[in-house]
Symmetry: C2
Subunit: 310 residues, 2 copies
Amino acid sequence: MELIRTLTQMVHSLRARGIRRRVAVVCPKDSHTEYVIIRALREEIAEFLLVSDTADMEMAYHLRMASPDFVRVYEAETPDAAAALAVELVRTGEADILMKGLINTDNLLRAVLNKEKGLLPSGGVLSHVAVAQVPLYHKLLFFSDAAVIPRPTLDQFRAMIMADVALCRKLGSEQPRVALIHCTEKINEKFPHTISYVQLKEEALQGKFGSVFVDGPMDAKTACDAHSGQIKGLASPVVGNADIMIFPNIESGNTFYKTLSLFGDANMAGMLTGTIAPVVVPSRADSGNSKYYSLALACLAGNEPQNECL
Amino acid sequence: MELIRTLTQMVHSLRARGIRRRVAVVCPKDSHTEYVIIRALREEIAEFLLVSDTADMEMAYHLRMASPDFVRVYEAETPDAAAALAVELVRTGEADILMKGLINTDNLLRAVLNKEKGLLPSGGVLSHVAVAQVPLYHKLLFFSDAAVIPRPTLDQFRAMIMADVALCRKLGSEQPRVALIHCTEKINEKFPHTISYVQLKEEALQGKFGSVFVDGPMDAKTACDAHSGQIKGLASPVVGNADIMIFPNIESGNTFYKTLSLFGDANMAGMLTGTIAPVVVPSRADSGNSKYYSLALACLAGNEPQNECL
């Protein structure tokens, strides 16, 4: 499979392979969600199970009327009940993907994380992966975690790497290059994540993550700019050529996401991983394009197990 | 004074006002340092006291030969002795600014932080301020801390705000707008810096930082993009219009710096604050332009006390 280098190519790839996923949407009530649904129907990458609450079914019925063959509607008493029902549709295999509409993220996540009836397997690690298409970079950049895990533990770092590597492979990268981000190359006990990085590199050499390159600590520029690496005398398959960036904490991951999307003129996609199916939780300030690409990314990730690199 | 909106304007302002600072350079031995010195001499914003070690004086003498009226040379036995001597020149008032050449940053900082003979006043807080000129932003962006303080305490946050506000005023901002950065707007005990932010906003209202606006927590995009603020229903003088961004930890500050400079096509300047005179410590991977603008920024900051907003 050829490496997918842009988010548009990602959509083309879905269409060329005839992949059309079933997406359960919780509370489709806002114009952004409507835009994503209509565009996905038009570009034939998804069909929809729209789950909303009795008080506000208008948009759901309207969308069904326009595309009766590809839209089904489900009614629940409350938004929370809609979330629980949509999660149930994914659990029973009637839907491949869960997507958030106009419902509070915390309420949606409560249904996703419900121990008996949710989507996270026992012992699973919920994390967020973002994919950025940046004009000044030569390929897509995958990174974690801008949204979910505040201070990753060693186990959480492992899960993030596995999920991101699995996704990166689905976009055609045979040997993903993983940069473990810090502000310098120095390993320092004052920064416990740099100690975790040493362990993760060791595990990568032992084959724990499959065929990958893992290197770090290094700063965000060194990971993506060969010239910076040369100046610092660093040489590795990762330096200047990262596919995946693992950030040490949520503040740095979130800052990378926001800075790229605002000042890097980037198009972004993102989804939750670790669950039995992809979960799409668009951020309010994301562009319509980003929200659509997030759904397309989830369609590509599909409903196979996430950690297939093992 | 008119607001300076670009780094080029900053240099023009220095020249228009006839400001010419005396800069002590430690170990001028590399082509980057040479470039900065020659350009500053040509643009008449500085004169130089070049301090190097006996083993490698060549570049220093060469520069003096080319500009005998504006370059003096000092010889020390070792690079560490050169650092100590340059610091002494600043302490005694013979130089206004300290600048790093080809010497390990840790070794230079040891001289700067020496308790008896260094440049940090008792109780002072050493921090780093960066100034970014980003094509997609309408003015210069000041931010801390990308380089020095790992996890700012409340006192360190205060010192960072004071130093950045003082510098921002020197570039013509009468009422700097300070954004306290986090990944969301939520105040949360799991993130102690968000609790510090509440206190800092209270102190700002009490006038502790002079005439400023301080707001947060907010994410990096909300600080600089009015549209994001609107979507989130946030309104304040800071949202979408920040002059200064205070980051919660060094990983997020450093990520902002590196991402802007690599993917935001930004020109950067930076210096250390809290010391009795500005200290310029260019990063290896910075461009020649960035290194020159860092010196110009320090020239503008001058040798007056840093915390004049009090």
